[in-house]
Structure formats: structure tokens, C-alpha cells
Amino acid sequence: MKSGKFWAWVVFIVSAAYFFIPLIATFEFSLRLRRGVHSFDAYQIVLGDPRFQATFLYSVVAAVFTIILGVLVVVPAAYWIRLRLPQLRPIVEFITLLPLVIPAIVIVFGYIRMYGSNSPLPFLASDFGASALLVIGYATLALPYMYRAVDTGLRTIDVRTLTEAAQILGAGWGTIITRVILPNVLIAVLSGAFLTFAIVIGEFTMASLLNRPAFGPYLQNIGANRAYEPAALAVIAFAITWGCMSLIQLLSRFAPKSANRPN
């Protein structure tokens, strides 16, 4: 037993070293812009860069629309499968896992060929259309996470009873979904939303191939041309990811633990 504990510490410390050394080194590196002293100059340059502000804002807006689209697609489907079509569950679960199997670059390649300027549905003919297609692509990438988050949320509430109770009170389907089901799975939806945000904010492949002015292509551009600023951007990106994950953890404390609570 004692030797087990010893090896557990060894594994933990070696892993911690592998994960923390690059993070510490990146942070230290990002402070080196001014010769001889540590300074936050790299952060100042990055944050003051109008292209940083514009691309970051673009990606934040894209992430918000991605989350809205994801909720609109996933919540009714997950709800309906729990309520009426449980036999569809394996099929839908399989489909939602597909974006983990089909690489993002393949999906976006399909978009470029199918929705080009000369196609019947020319998304790529206009800037707005291309941005819409980017949001759609992001929603596809987020599908596995969004579906699982919402489905887990639905598992903790008694969907059938809530729906019947609402129906007895005369609620229509719109009311049931927006005023009964959604508030009950809100925390689960928000977890999915923050995860989506973390995935989407620095995404490079889709944004670059659809030629959108997003944060990912900007990161690439800085990475190819500057020395210390990329390290600062990596620290900022890590902080954003950390923030999203902390919010998810925080939210999970408010989530209902199980259905059919006694009171």
C-alpha cells in the first residue's frame, strides 16, 4: 500500500511538471519584450492592437450566435426524444458524435464545395452568408458537447410529468419549451454554452478556410510574424479557457442533482 502511494505521488508530480513548465515558461517568455527587465509590454501591444480588438469581437459575436443556434437545434430535439421518441436516441447520439469523427477541415471543405457562390444555396457569395456559414460550422463542431450537456440536464428532471402538468394548465408547446423545460435545463445549457465558447473563440481551420476576420487567423498571423506577442496571446487564451471551465464548475453546484426529489 505504501509503495502505491509513493508511485501515485511520482505520477502526479511528473505530470504536474509536464503541464506546468510550459505554462510558466510561456508566461515568463511573454514578459521579456523589453530587454533586461520583465514588463507587460507584450500584453499592452497585443491588447492595444486594433486588429486584436476587431477579430476578438468578431469571434465573441460568432460564439454567441453559435450558442444560440446550438440551443435552438439541440434543446427541442433532446426534449422531444426524451418525451416521445426514445427509440430515436441511439441514432441521434450517433449523429451527434459524428463531428468528433469527421475532422473539422473535412466538414468545412464540404461547405466550401456545396455552398459556393455558384451553388443553389450560395452562402459564400456574401460576407454575411460566409459568417453565417462559419456560425453553422461552429454549431456543428459544438454539437457533441451541446447535446450531451442538454441531455444530462434533461435526465435530472422529470420531463414527462412537467410537460403533462404544463399541458393540464393549458400551456402550448412554445410555452412548455421556453418557460418550463428551458429554465429547468438552463444550467446544463449554460455549461454547454461555455464549453462551446472555449472551443470556438480561437478556432483556426474553419475561420481561415472561410476567409473570416476571426481571432484564430489573427493568432496565426501574429504567431508567424512576432516573437513575444504570441506568448502573451497564449497566456490570454489559457486564461479564457480557464475562465470558461471555472464558470462550468461553478454552475454545476447550482444544478439539480436528480429527478424526483422528495420535496
Binding site: S15, W80, I102, F109, G110, A231
Partner: protein, 305 residues
Amino acid sequence: MTDLSLSNQAFATKPASPKEATAFRFPTHWIGVTPFFIFVLMFLILPTLYLVLGAFQNGEGQFTFDNILQLVSDPSISNSYWASIWISFWSAIIGAFAGLALAIAIVRGGLPSWVRSATLTFSGVASNFAGLPLAFAFIATLGRVGIVTIILRDVFGMNIYAMGFNFLTSSGLIVVYLFFQIPLMVVIIVPAIDGLKKEWNEAAATLGATQWQYWRMVVIPVLFPSFLGTVILLFANAFGAIATAYAFTGPTLNIVPIKLYSQINGDVLHNPQLGYAIAFGMIVITGLANVFYIWFRTRSERWLK
């Protein structure tokens, strides 16, 4: 907040009389899932099918195997496939075992509880920390003027670049990919390890099993399906990854996603249909990995029953 929703609810429910509610019927059983199916059909399944069909057509739209054959006959393409498979396979295998070791250490190793929660939180973050920022972090660490490179050179007299280390090599990329592969394994496998009941160990011990027999006959068979499933996921994860490698080298590194990226951007292979074939090959490989997984899982579930 509560007040508002209460009053609104009363307002919304009053006008709908029971008669209207029963008279209102949905046209079909499928209405709730229709948006979902339209979405995945238009933006996931059809675009993929389009590429798959394109892989079997020549420029005039006639059926052909030429594009597929060219994946094998063109050495630069087949090499890029081997490089990608090699990197994805080893980063998945190493990441899986390292992640499993870390997960067992924090769940079963008798470490203080803060170690477990800190590791899980960090793994959640690190498994999503990929792409360009990850590359930047490793360039700042192990790049030519990276901190660790300099420390190793000045303090320990070790010049890792003279020793052949390079991000552009397969092993260099594997080291970097492990940064998200290991945490992803931890995040997925910890719940499975938690699912191992203490009673099983006690029951095995009562029946006279040694600790090794308990591991071989109970723990490994129970964990195997989720472990293998995660290995497949890690493989696909690395196989489709492009941004990290792209940040190190630009479009020169010869792995499949970067090859496809250059092909989409500028038809570098001078044959648009070949792009379809490369994409098709990627789907086949990640798809085959999943077929293996399903096959293994049904086999192992047969014994679990």
C-alpha cells in the same frame, strides 16, 4: 425575477381554455426533432457525402477509382497519411496510458483530495487548450530561444536542437499533442474508475484472488471498453488537428490535414478531385478506428454480461 415569471405564467395560461388545448394537435410525431435532422442533414451529412461522391468522380463527373488510387501511388500523399497515422496513433497510445496512470493515481493512490479536484479542474482546461495558443506556449518553452531550451543549454550544457529535437518531427508533435491528449483521457476515464465498486475488490479478496488477479479479471475488463473508446477519440482528435502543427511550420509540414488545407486553399496538387479523395481517406481512417472500437466493445460486452 420570481414575481415577474409568476405573473407572466398566469397571464399566459389563462386565455388557453382546455378545449383549445385538446384541439391543438401536432401534425406529426416528428416535429420536435425536425430542426435537428434538417440541420445535421444540410450541414454535416450532405457536405460529407458530397466529398465522398466527389472522391469517386473525375473532372467530368464520371465514375473513377483514379483519385483513390492516387492517394496510394503519389508518395507525397501516402507519406503524409503515414505521418499522420503515426503521430495520431502514438500520441493516442502514450496519452491514454499516461492519462490512465494519472487518473488511477489521483483516484486510487491515496493522495489528498485537493490533488484529485485540482487535477480534474486542470484537465478540463488543458483538454480544451489546443490549437494555435498551445503551439505558442511550446515555442516559448522549447523553441530555439525558449526558456527551457536556454536553461538546458546554459545550466545543464544540453543543446536539445543539436541533439536532434525539433517540433517539425513526429516525436516533437507527439510531445506537444500530449498536452491535450493526457487531460482528455483523465477527464473521460476518472468517472469510469470511480464506477469500480470497493465491494468488487473485497469480493475478489474473499474468493482468494491476489491483487494482480483482481486487476486482470475485474478492473481491466470493466475499464477496457471506455479506455479503448477514449483511445479512438484521442486518435481522431490528433488526426484532425491542424492549427498546432500549422503554427509551428506553416503549410510545409507533411501531414494529411495540412496537405488538405493547402489543397483547399490553392489546389497545390493540380487536381480538384484529389482533394475530395484526401478528405474521403481521412473519413475512412477515423471511421475504421470507430468500427474497431464498436467491434471490440461488443466482444468485451459479451463477457461482461
